[in-house]
């Protein structure tokens, strides 16, 4: 029973480019975003891209915070009815296609899982890329399940499902301008759909970069930040659904 003993310690000590190794007296700065000479700094780019995505999610959250406050304020507002000369509430709750929305939710949550697999698959590929380039080293047959493609399909299915939900509403006579309640249903779901479509475009770009033979780490960055965006969109959708179902 020969067991494989590594001759290299599993945890490399950080090199001199490590953050705190040889800094001037008072440390704390970044590394200026500078890569090692001669190699593109994918690690730094990934870090910045993730940070940028975290920052970018803030205004999206603010957008929906503003919509929510408008939703709640508008819900409580009375309006003057000229026929009866009375102040009435014109907020007529829209009967939502709840079953359809739940199916869509499942599709979106499933896509959130698949994009997470896609993200991890790519991270693994990037990590193993240098090993694979050593002659004679084989990692066995990697099963490359098309998680990315599946996510794109699921994303489009969700949008299709939303379209069905809108047509269902329209069939029952609830259009955008029918009443304040229906306006908000279309507004919230529509704005969410536009944002999710943006995520799909990013994934299509990532998929296209396979065809265009872009470097793997650069594709990984796109998929990685899109995955975080996608999870945020799934959470946002659950929030919107809860708002529409429970606060109408």
């Amino acid at each position: 029973m020969a067991s494989f003993t590594p001759t290299v310690p599993a945890h490399h000590p950080t090199t001199s480019r490590g953050k705190r190794a040889d800094l001037p007296p008072v440390a704390g700065g970044g590394d200026g975003g500078r890569p090692d000479p001669g190699s593109p700094d994918y690690g730094g780019r990934l870090r910045r891209a993730r940070l940028g995505m975290a920052v970018a999610l803030t205004p999206i959250a603010m957008l929906f915070v503003a919509f929510t406050s408008a939703y709640i304020v508008r819900q409580g507002l009375p309006t003057f009815d000229p026929n009866t000369n009375k102040v009435v509430h014109d907020w007529i709750p829209v009967p939502l296609p709840t079953i359809l929305f739940l199916i869509n939710t499942c599709v979106l949550l499933l896509s959130s899982v698949t994009i997470e697999f896609a993200r991890r698959q790519l991270a693994r590929q990037v990590a193993l890329e240098p090993v694979q380039s050593i002659p004679g080293v084989s990692l066995g047959r990697e099963r490359k399940f098309p998680w990315l493609a599946l996510t794109i399909v699921l994303g489009f299915s969700f949008l299709g499902g939303q379209w069905l939900a809108w047509s269902d509403l329209a069939e029952r006579g609830f259009y955008v301008a029918t009443g304040p309640s229906s306006s908000f249903v279309y507004l919230l779901t529509g704005t969410h759909a536009v944002h999710l479509f943006g995520g799909i475009i990013a994934l299509l770009v990532a998929g296209l970069s396979v065809v265009l033979n872009r470097p793997l780490p650069s594709r990984r960055i796109v998929v990685d930040v899109t995955a975080w965006y996608w999870h945020f969109m799934a959470l946002l959708w659950i929030y919107i659904l809860a708002l529409l179902e429970f606060a109408h």
């Binding site: 007296p25 200026g32 001669g38």
Partner: protein, 576 residues
């Protein structure tokens, strides 16, 4: 791959990639700056037309002919919008922030150069769409820069509220997107791209001000975007978010149940932080310049940062003070009033720290210093009327008078502009490699300082005397007749002040080509931009990576060989 290539993208060669669709933050900064420069002259021209109309209402003006009331309202709207968005938001943050944030923190570029380019071109597109509103049928919108509904929400509400208003809202929405992209870039760059040793507490106050401004923009512009989307839906799809039941020209509008107040809440939740978005970079520049030209460390560096942070934080809690007149529960009004007056505390901290910096300094009265001192002066005189207006009991009689324009023009308009001027005179040598003409700069300064005070200080008296805002005809109102000489004086002052800006324009362009060559550090300043070549190379430090050993304002350090210690100098004396 070039071995020494330490930059995310190599220097471009062709004209288009170098100067038009450039990824270089310095070129993008200049693009923002020149966009703001054209915008400020458009804005000034509009204000001159208004001032002329106010005292000679029957005058036939070039291009416009006789000014009708709706034309006057269009002028008000476009002057405000262009100045607030395309000058006060664009030049200090987009212009100088883009140019100097990466250099001052020792980075080769912004974190996302492509996003940076997109951000500028989206701003440019927004500017074109905004200007297009002048030329469509009906002309520019009437609803003011605040776009109050239902005037802004109904196509039939007046000339200019048709296509002109749609263009206006579209432009604002585009501007929101552009600003969000910019803010995202500023925050990521500040957090992730700092050079070694450049801890947050070693950043120049300019960087802090751009960083905090970016955070404000990130939180505020999303809300304005949401309001813009709702407004476009009300106008074009027939929803009723902002429009209550009612008639326009005797006809039912078809809307019902919407709330005009909802628009005001959403707008001012953006609008008040926007005021600080305009002034915070000016505060940063004033701190930088006052310290440099007093040859003293800034008084209370950390207090300055905390003051800016608390101004930013409080800025999100006071939007209701714009709406005391719109109908508000006295309890809410009280809360907004107290929060608003609380902003006086960090503002006073800043002011006293500036004065503390000047105190016993070996002051060099160069043109950037003059404008920085002018900034402090205007900040005080414009700011002092703030606590007046923060109180509902005083705001209600004053709100719709000329008092309020007097207040916000001094503090948000002219003070922020003085910040831009100080920044221009201070950084011009670094940006263009030449010095500006000092004598012209002084003439420009004194004309502008006295001129702007002469225009905007009397507005307070006019307001107290009851002169309303946004009225196109003042000469018909009998009780305003005694105020006509003062109004006439203000118009002449405005004409002279605007004419004095031509001195600046001449100085700017003449010095760009004919000014004496500038050294790398003409002001003997300490921050990183003065350690690199003039003008800086494509990657800012020519492949070097600066290492920071000192704080940003080490002037007159005892025992140091010179009266200033650069941030990159060895940390031998600056340990305190």
């Amino acid at each position: 791959m070039v071995a020494q290539e330490s930059h995310a993208h190599s220097a471009p060669q062709g004209f288009i990639r170098k100067y038009v669709f450039s990824l270089d933050h310095k070129v993008i900064g200049l693009q923002y700056y020149f966009l703001a420069l054209t915008a400020v002259f458009v804005g000034m021209a509009l204000s001159l037309l208004m001032r002329i109309h106010l005292i000679w209402p029957m005058a036939i003006l070039p291009l416009l002919g006789e000014i009708k009331p709706e034309t006057y309202l269009s002028l008000v709207t476009m002057h405000g919008t262009i100045m607030v968005f395309f000058v006060l938001t664009t030049a200090p943050q987009g212009g100088f922030g883009n140019y100097f944030l990466p250099i001052q923190i020792g980075a080769p570029d912004m974190a996302f150069p492509v996003l940076n380019m997109l951000s500028f071109w989206t701003t440019f597109l927004a500017y074109l769409v905004m200007l297009a509103a002048f030329f469509v049928v009906g002309g520019a919108p009437l609803h003011g820069w605040t776009g109050y509904a239902p005037l802004s929400a109904l196509q039939s509400a007046g000339p200019g509220e048709g296509l002109g208003a749609d263009l206006w809202i579209t432009s604002i929405a585009l501007f929101c997107v552009a600003s969000l992209m910019g803010a995202l870039n500023f925050i990521t760059t500040t957090l992730d791209m700092r050079a070694r040793g450049m801890s947050m507490w070693r950043m120049p106050l300019t960087c802090w001000s751009w960083f905090i401004t970016a955070i404000l923009g990130l939180l505020a512009f999303g809300v304005l975007l949401s309001a813009g989307i709702l407004l476009l839906m009300d106008r074009n799809i027939g929803t009723s978010f902002f429009v209550p039941l009612g008639t326009v020209n005797g006809q039912l509008t078809g809307h019902k149940g919407g709330s005009p107040l909802l628009w005001q809440h959403l707008f001012w939740f953006f609008g008040h932080p926007e005021v600080y978005i305009a002034i915070l970079p000016g505060m940063g520049v004033a701190s930088q310049v006052l310290s440099t030209f007093s040859r003293k460390p800034i008084f209370g560096y950390k207090a300055m940062v905390y003051a800016m942070l608390s101004i930013g934080l409080l800025g999100f809690m006071v939007w209701g003070h714009h709406m005391f007149m719109s109908g508000m529960s006295p309890y809410s009004a009280f809360a907004f009033s107290v929060m608003t007056m609380a902003i006086g505390v960090p503002s006073a901290i800043k002011t006293f720290n500036w004065l503390g910096t000047l105190h016993k300094g070996r002051i060099r009265f160069h043109s950037p210093m003059l404008f920085a001192i002018g900034f402090v002066s205007l900040f005080v005189s414009g700011g002092l009327s703030g606590p007046f207006l923060a109180q509902p009991a005083l705001d209600i009689p004053l709100h719709d008078t000329a008092f309020v324009p007097g207040h916000f023009h001094l503090i948000m308009g002219v003070a922020a502009i003085f910040g831009i001027f100080a920044a221009t005179y201070y950084w011009f040598p670094k940006m263009f490699g030449r010095m500006m003409n000092e004598r012209l700069a002084r003439i420009h300064f004194f004309f502008t300082l006295i001129g702007t005070y002469a225009v905007f200080m009397p507005m307070h008296y006019l307001g107290l005397a009851g002169q309303p805002r946004r009225y196109s005809q003042l000469t018909e109102l009998k009780y305003l007749h005694p105020l006509l000489p003062l109004n006439t004086f203000m118009t002449y002052a405005a004409i002279i002040t605007v004419a004095a800006q031509l001195i600046f324009l001449f100085n700017l362009f003449w010095s760009m080509f004919k000014g004496p060559k500038a050294s790398d550090n003409p002001w003997e300043a300490t921050t990183l931009e003065w350690t690199t070549a003039t003008p800086p190379p494509h990657d800012n430090f020519a492949g070097r990576t600066p290492v920071v050993n000192n704080g940003p304002y080490e002037y007159s350090v005892p025992g140091a060989p010179r009266d200033y210690v650069m941030q990159t100098d060895p940390a031998t004396v600056a340990a305190h």
